[in-house]
């Protein structure tokens, strides 16, 4: 079941990682150092308690710069990372 990354608007690339951090596909698959850094961030973020229940983990993790951002989510024991153009939602509404 391939995730349709081309349906995502403003997508600049994507990356799929397994649980151990092995790259399993994507436009950005040759950037191994970036992938390792993502794994670090994700492991740390998974430890943040979101609520009193221990099983509540983040649904979406965004790393935002001026013009672009990385959006990260987890599904079916795989980590999906999408690099997208960042347009501040307030500016878009104005």
């Amino acid at each position: 079941m391939a995730v349709p990354f081309d349906r995502i608007p403003d997508s600049l690339g994507y990356l799929v990682l397994t649980e151990d951090g092995a790259v399993s596909g994507g436009d950005l698959e040759n950037k191994e150092d970036v992938a390792n850094q993502f794994m670090n961030i994700i492991q740390t973020a998974l430890r943040i308690p979101l609520s009193s229940s221990k099983k509540d983990k983040f649904k979406k993790l965004s790393i935002v710069w001026d013009n672009f951002m990385y959006v990260i989510t987890i599904s079916a024991h795989k980590i999906y990372i999408c690099k997208r153009r960042f347009i501040p939602p307030d500016a878009a509404m104005a």
Partner: protein
């Protein structure tokens, strides 16, 4: 008589000072061809002889006594007494013939043990894989039974059902970004402001008359 161990891949700078301070009777030589080895033995033999005379005045373990009993693998049965001061190198004995015979005696009687000629007993491929599987199984069993094991494994949660919907959703609002940035800046500043308040000295000089 001291045992001479010849090693193929050890570099030892043999100097008079080292021999004088050596408290045991094992000397290591780098591998060298026989003539050079003879030269070394020629210069060192008087010193070694003097060391032996000093260490075993009543004739201790002989040259051919094994250090380790091969049958039951126990350590050396007798302990070597330490010398206080190794006497300075004595003048080599005059008379070339005497030296030559002594040299040949050493070369023939001493058991040279070549440390480099070790035969490895390698594992076969399938044996290696079997062992690796056995060990990882045992590890998993132990880890699963102990409660703390899961803290280190940090397995991935199940997560969302439709990742593309989450990834394509609206990005984070500017207000949220501002909030997070301010909070992180303040936390970093607070951590940097940690100071140690000095109350009492840990080390106090005592006035000993």
């Amino acid at each position: 008589m001291a045992n001479l161990w010849v090693s193929n891949n050890l570099q030892v700078f043999v100097s008079a000072s080292i021999i004088e301070t050596a408290k045991h009777n094992i000397l290591l030589f780098p591998y060298m061809p026989q003539p050079a080895l003879k030269m070394y033995i020629k210069t060192l033999y008087p010193i070694v002889k003097a060391m032996d005379a000093d260490m075993f005045p009543d004739g201790g373990p002989s040259e051919t006594d094994r250090l380790i009993n091969p049958a039951n693998g126990q350590g050396t049965p007798s302990s070597f007494r330490e010398t206080q001061v190794v006497p300075a190198a004595t003048v080599p004995q005059p008379g070339g013939g005497d030296e030559a015979s002594v040299l040949t005696r050493i070369l023939h009687t001493v058991n040279f043990i070549d440390v480099s000629a070790v035969e490895g007993r390698g594992l076969e491929q399938h044996e290696y894989h079997d062992k690796a599987r056995q060990y990882s199984n045992k590890l998993n069993m132990v880890l699963a039974s102990s409660g703390r094991g899961s803290k280190y494994r940090m397995s991935l949660p199940n997560g969302v059902t439709a990742p593309q919907i989450v990834l394509a959703s609206q990005p984070v609002s500017l207000a949220d970004i501002e909030l997070i940035t301010m909070a992180a800046k303040r936390a970093a500043a607070a951590v940097n402001d940690l100071k140690v308040e000095h109350k009492e000295d840990l080390v106090v000089p005592f006035g000993v008359p």
